[in-house]
């Protein structure tokens, strides 16, 4: 009677809900997505090529600009890799400060995810609330390292400065407030029937497929696998902290929401412990001078648990103070592979929900 025809449309690279410059070629049959082909690389800046010509210390600002939503994690992953390559020990106090910053940054990153993801689906006010609280974290970062987005807060073998006076109190006050506000987000969304309808059984991917596609982070944990590098391969001082890994076996967008919301509370818990346990005195830098002498022709891979998943750095040294090869294994790049299987067969309106739930940062995936 009526002839139907498949249609190919472009979503992005300037589409507001692709969270950056992701372009998605979609083949649609009516409202259904038949096939999709993500096109990335619009934000490729050649950071890996550029890194090969710079000394180790000079690469730290680049790591801020890869995953600009959680630049602290990027700094920690890169510097951890350099320290592993050169066998440098980080003083305990510096490690505590690093963990405090990274965990606060995880909260900030998840708040940005929550706001934009909810905004994509249609919840406006949570976006404003999430950004309001994120601003407070950025104020804390500004007070500590002077920058609000591209922190460059750590140096090789330690941190450049101690926490400023009054910072601890401000941070404790924020954490107390945040627990309250977190309850409000839950009140708005967790039981909301519109939210449930938009997220339940959307973007289903089980653990086996997640692992096969190298998907890590909250997406994997929402599929029932308790994979967290903070527990599995503890770096910094995570082995001295007491925390749980939130796991859900819903495998869908709603489960990822639950996991990330619980992770924020875990991070608050961790920062509170750190502030309590942190030694008040102690060195901040583990080594003097800036000259690095790594062993010749060695390679290392160091990964941390970023807000989006495994954030790894692979370094090859040639004995000089520059890396011979510096490869960043970014979680957005790997997680983005799961987008095509997730949207396949779903509705076109769910595509924005799935992009939101993967929590991608295009600067991270394109490098």
């Amino acid at each position: 009677m009526f002839r139907t025809q498949e249609m190919e449309i472009n979503m992005g690279p300037q589409h507001p809900s692709t969270h950056g410059v992701l372009r998605l070629k979609l083949r649609l049959d009516g409202e259904r997505v038949v096939d999709s082909w993500p096109v990335i690389g619009y934000l490729h800046r050649g950071i890996e090529k550029l890194s090969e010509s710079k000394e180790f210390i000079k690469i730290t600002p680049f790591t801020d600009r890869m995953d600009y939503v959680c630049a602290m994690s990027g700094n920690l992953a890169y510097l951890g890799a350099v320290e592993k390559l050169c066998g440098i020990k980080v003083p305990e106090k510096a490690a505590y400060i690093r963990v405090i910053m990274v965990e606060l940054n995880r909260i900030a990153s998840h708040l940005l995810w929550l706001g934009t993801h909810a905004l994509d689906i249609g919840a406006m006010s949570i976006f404003l609330y999430g950004f309001r609280e994120r601003e407070m974290i950025l104020d804390l970062f500004e007070a500590y390292c002077g920058a609000r987005l591209t922190y460059n807060a750590f140096r090789i073998s330690g941190v450049p400065a101690d926490l400023p006076p009054g910072w601890k109190e401000e941070c404790t006050g924020f954490l107390k407030l945040f627990r309250q506000r977190h309850r409000e987000y839950e009140q708005i969304l967790t039981a909301n029937r519109i939210w449930l309808k938009r997220t339940k059984d959307v973007g289903y991917m089980d653990a086996e497929h997640c692992l096969a596609l190298s998907v890590t982070g909250p997406v994997l944990r929402a599929a029932g696998v308790a994979r967290d590098l903070r527990k599995d391969e503890p770096y910094a001082i995570y082995d001295q902290l007491d925390f749980d890994i939130p796991v859900d076996d819903g495998c869908d967008t709603y489960a990822r929401y639950i996991v990330r919301m619980a992770e924020m509370l875990q991070s608050v818990h961790m920062v509170e412990q750190c502030l309590e346990k942190m030694p008040s005195e102690g060195p901040l830098m583990g080594m003097k001078g800036r000259r690095m002498k790594p062993r010749k022709d060695e390679e290392i891979y160091f990964a941390i648990e970023g807000p989006r998943g495994e954030q790894g750095v692979y370094l090859i040294s040639d004995g000089t103070d520059r890396p011979y090869r510096c490869k960043f294994r970014n979680s957005s790049f790997a997680n983005l592979q799961a987008l095509a299987p997730m949207v396949q067969g779903g509705l076109v309106a769910d595509v924005v929900a799935i992009i939101g739930t993967l929590d991608i940062v295009l600067g991270d995936s394109d490098r």
């Binding site: 190298s214 998907v215 696998v225 599995d232 022709d297 390679e299 790894g312 692979y314 790997a334």
Partner: protein, 249 residues
């Protein structure tokens, strides 16, 4: 041990042979970075697939095995499915260019086992004209990583579902992460930002310190006479005349 005959020219000796002569002062304690860690995978491979992989190399608590490209897929299949190894997650796949070596590219596979909490690095060498078997049948997630290695280094993977560029534009010439690719790129492929053509004014070239002059001189020169781009070499943009007049007036 069939692979051991083919190994020495493949570029593996340097990392394995440099550690022994390294400890010159004998009083020094052994480097903790070179400590041997326990990992069941090399032993299992030695039992089941003898001679396929090299002896493990330990550095900073990481285990590296070298495998020839012919045996790569077989070893990967084994490591993925063997219960004692069970490396379910391909954390990373990347390549490096070593232009001086006979087989130019070194490709590494970072495997992680969630069940055993182990990590392993597989390493293989491949020449410029050769190709590697794709590991997408074992880990489908290798798809994008292999595309990236193809895009940035020009390594061919056989059996990949669709090996096209991923980070660079489709019509890009060359593979940027190769060591012989210049850092600023090839000038003839540049799509330059030609402020001078648009605004009819000169600007300090982006490579302002690389021009050989000190920056102070450049600035003085440019601040002095606007409109004479001598040392800022740029290719004029191929615009038609009407356009140029409109922007100029």
């Amino acid at each position: 041990m069939p692979t051991d005959d083919t190994k020495p020219p493949a570029g593996t000796p340097p990392p394995r042979e440099t550690p022994p002569p390294a400890p010159k002062p004998p009083v020094k304690p052994p480097d903790p970075l070179l400590a041997v860690v326990s990992c069941p995978a090399p032993d299992r491979l030695r039992e089941v697939l003898p001679g396929r992989v090299s002896e493990p190399h330990f550095f900073a608590g990481e285990v590296t095995l070298t495998v020839a490209p012919d045996h790569l897929l077989e070893v990967c299949q084994f490591l993925r499915h063997d219960p004692a190894c069970s490396f379910e997650l391909l954390a990373d796949l990347t390549g490096t260019d070593f232009p001086d070596e006979e087989k130019r590219f070194r490709v590494v596979y970072h495997l992680a086992s969630l069940r055993n909490g182990q990590r392993l690095r597989l390493r293989t060498q491949v020449g410029q004209e050769e190709s590697l078997p794709s590991v997408t049948p074992v880990w489908p997630g290798a798809n994008w990583f292999e595309r990236e290695a193809f895009d940035l280094l020009g390594i061919q993977f056989d059996g990949h579902p669709r090996l096209v560029r991923i980070l660079m534009p489709d019509d890009w010439v060359g593979h940027p992460l190769r060591k012989d690719y210049p850092l600023p790129g090839y000038p003839e492929h540049h799509l330059r930002y030609r402020t001078a053509d648009i605004t009819r004014r000169s600007y300090v070239d982006i490579s302002w310190k690389a021009t050989g002059e000190r920056a102070a001189d450049i600035v003085k020169k440019y601040k002095g006479n606007v409109g004479a781009p001598e040392s800022a070499p740029h290719v004029p943009m191929p615009v038609d005349d009407t356009n140029g007049q409109e922007t100029g007036s």
